[in-house]
Homo-oligomer: 331 residues x 2
C-alpha cells in the first residue's frame, strides 16, 4: 500500500506523519498520479500551522500542492490526459481534500498539466506555483513593460526566482531584495539587475539611486508587515504593490498618506486569481510552457529530500536557508 | 483693496483671518478672478490643521480650492479664457500659493474652467472637486458597470452625493452609508438605492442581503481607519476599495488575509491623478460638463455663509451636520 503524508493536528514539522494507506480510485473529473517527486511551497508550512487561507480542515488532513509523476488512472469525464502521461499538478484545489504528499495522489483533472520534455521530473514539481504566481502579478495584472523597475522582495524563494526570470524575459529591470548577503550572488546569477541586502543597505535610497528618482512601478512582495511602509516609500506614483504572502507574520499598517499622495494600488494577490478563471489560466499556461520550452525561464532547485524526511524538508524551508525550490524525491 | 483669507499658523477655525491686501496681477499662464462664491472642501479643514498632503507652507498662507466668478485679468500666454468670462476653479494647484478664499484670486490658467449656463454661481463652486473625484474613481479607474453594487461611505459629503449621482447615471446600484439616521432621507432623495445607517445596522450583513451574497465590486471610501476591515469584509472577489480621505483620523490596518483571500485592490486615490494628467482631465471635464448640461447630475448645496463668517463655515463643516456643499457668498 502507498505511503501518504498526513497530520492529525496543526503544529510544527513533527506533526507530519508517513502513513501507509489505501488510496481511493479517482472519481468523476479526477486523476490518480503515481508521484515521482514533490516541490515544497511556503503555503504548506502555513497550512500545517493552521494559518493558511484554507483553515477549515477535517483531521487527519492531507497536504501538498505540487507533484510530478505518471498518470496511473483516470476517472469518468477526464479528457485532458491519459494513463501513462507525464504530468505535474497546478495548485488549484483544497490541500485538505487533495494534498499530494505521498506515493500516489488523487487530484482534480483540471489541476493536471503536461510539462515540457526538456524538464526533469524534479524541475516539473517547480513550475506552476512559482510561474503562475509571478506571471499573474507581473503580466496579467501588472502589465509590466520594458521600461519598468520591478522590486522583488524575499527574492530567493522559488516564486522570487520565477519573478526575476519573468521580469528579465519582459526586458524590465529586476531589483531583488534579500535580508543577508549570503544569497546575493545566487540572485545575480539568476538574472537580477540589482540586489539590495536589506539588513545592510537602505532599500529606499538604493531604489531611488537605481531608478534615478522615478521609483518602482511594480513591487512584488511576500513579506507584508511594517515592511509595506518601506515599499510605499520607494514606489513610483501610481505604482502597484502586489502582496502575495505574509512572511513577516506581523500586522500590516496601510500606508495611507503615501498611498493618497502617490495614488498607490496595494493589492492582495494569490495565484488562485489565475487558476480560478479558465481564460486566465489558459493564457498563463501558454506563456509558461512556451518560455520553459525555449529555456528562457528555468526552475532553480535547492536541496532534495526523501519522502520519509518530509519533516526535515519543512524544517529546511523554515530555516530560510534555501535558494530556490526544495524538492522531495519519491521512491 | 480686496479681502483675502489667510492664516498665520496651523490650528482651529479661529486661525482664519480676513485681511485687506493688495493682490498681485496675474503672471504668465495665470488668471485673476473676481470671486462671487466659494465652495468648501474637507481638504481645506485638514490643510488649515497642518494635516493635509500639502504641509510645506510659508506663513501667512492662503487657502481654498473652489471659487466661481468672473475673469478680471489674464497673464501672458493665457488662451483658454478671456476677461469677463464666467468661470470656476479646478483644484489642481498649491493652496498655499493660490488659495482662492477672498474677493479676488490669482490661479493657474490650467485651473480655470467654464461651467454650463444652467448652473448658478453657487452651484458652480460645487463642480470640480466633487465630480472629478467621483468620476476618477468610479469611471476612469473603477470602470463601474450597470451590474455593479457600489458602496459609498460618508455619503452626505459633496463628493458622496456626486458619487451617488454618477453611479445612478451609470445605471449601477448605489449603497450609501451614513452614521446616523438624520441624513438617510436626503441620501434617498439624492438617488441612493439603499442607505445603511452604520450606527444602527450591520453594514456587512446589509450589503450581503442587498447583493445576494455577491458583495460590492466598487467601494468608495473617505473614512479609512479600522472601518477598512468592514469594507474588506463586504467586498466582492477582486473588488476595488478606493480610499480618498482619512476622516477617521485613526491608523488604518491593512486587511491582509481578506485581501489575499479575495484578491482585493486597495487604492489610495485623489483627484490629482485626474487633474495632473491632461488627457484624463479632458475626458473627465467632457463627461462632467455634458452630464451637468443635461441635468443628469446636479450639485446638492448645504448652507450659505458670508465671507466674513468663514471661520463659522469651517466650524459647520467640522460639525458634520451638513448635507452637500457648504457655500460662501462673496460680496
Amino acid at each position: 500500500m502507498p505511503r501518504v503524508v498526513r497530520f492529525h493536528n496543526f503544529g510544527g514539522p513533527e506533526v507530519l506523519k508517513i502513513e501507509v494507506l489505501d488510496v481511493r480510485d479517482p472519481g468523476e473529473n479526477e486523476v490518480k498520479i503515481k508521484v515521482e517527486a514533490l516541490g515544497l511551497n511556503r503555503a504548506e508550512i502555513v497550512f500545517r500551522e493552521g494559518k493558511y487561507l484554507e483553515r477549515d480542515v477535517d483531521f487527519p488532513s492531507q497536504i501538498g500542492y505540487e507533484a510530478a509523476g505518471i498518470v496511473e488512472a483516470i476517472g469518468s469525464n477526464v479528457t485532458n490526459c491519459k494513463v501513462g502521461d507525464k504530468v505535474s499538478t497546478i495548485p488549484s484545489f483544497s490541500m485538505a481534500k487533495y494534498g499530494v504528499y505521498g506515493d500516489v495522489a488523487v487530484v482534480p483533472a483540471s489541476a493536471v498539466a503536461h510539462y515540457p520534455d526538456n524538464l526533469s521530473t524534479f524541475e516539473a514539481t517547480s513550475i506552476w506555483m512559482q510561474y503562475l504566481t509571478a506571471y499573474g502579478a507581473l503580466i496579467e495584472f501588472g502589465q509590466t513593460r520594458p521600461e519598468d523597475f520591478v522590486v522583488i522582495t524575499a527574492a530567493s524563494s522559488s516564486v522570487g526566482f520565477a519573478a526575476i526570470q519573468i521580469v528579465k524575459e519582459i526586458g524590465a529591470t529586476a531589483i531583488a531584495t534579500t535580508r543577508s548577503s549570503g544569497k546575493k550572488q545566487a540572485l545575480l546569477d539568476a538574472g537580477a539587475d540589482y540586489v539590495v541586502v536589506t539588513d545592510e543597505e537602505d532599500l529606499e535610497r538604493k531604489v531611488h539611486q537605481i531608478t534615478k528618482g522615478k521609483g518602482s512601478r511594480i513591487i512584488f512582495d511576500s513579506v507584508a508587515g511594517t515592511f509595506l511602509k518601506d515599499l510605499a516609500d520607494l514606489a513610483a506614483p501610481e505604482a502597484t504593490i502586489f502582496i502575495y504572502g505574509a512572511l513577516s507574520m506581523m500586522s500590516t499598517p496601510f500606508p495611507l498618506m503615501m498611498a493618497l499622495k502617490k495614488g498607490l494600488v496595494i493589492r492582495g494577490y494569490t495565484l488562485f486569481e489565475i487558476t480560478g478563471k479558465p481564460d486566465r489560466l489558459e493564457r498563463a499556461k501558454r506563456y509558461v510552457v512556451e518560455k520553459l520550452k525555449s529555456g528562457k525561464i528555468k526552475p532553480v532547485l535547492d536541496k532534495t529530500f526523501a519522502l520519509e524526511d518530509i519533516a526535515d524538508a519543512h524544517r529546511h524551508m523554515q530555516s530560510n536557508e534555501q535558494i530556490g525550490k526544495i524538492i522531495v524525491s519519491v521512491n
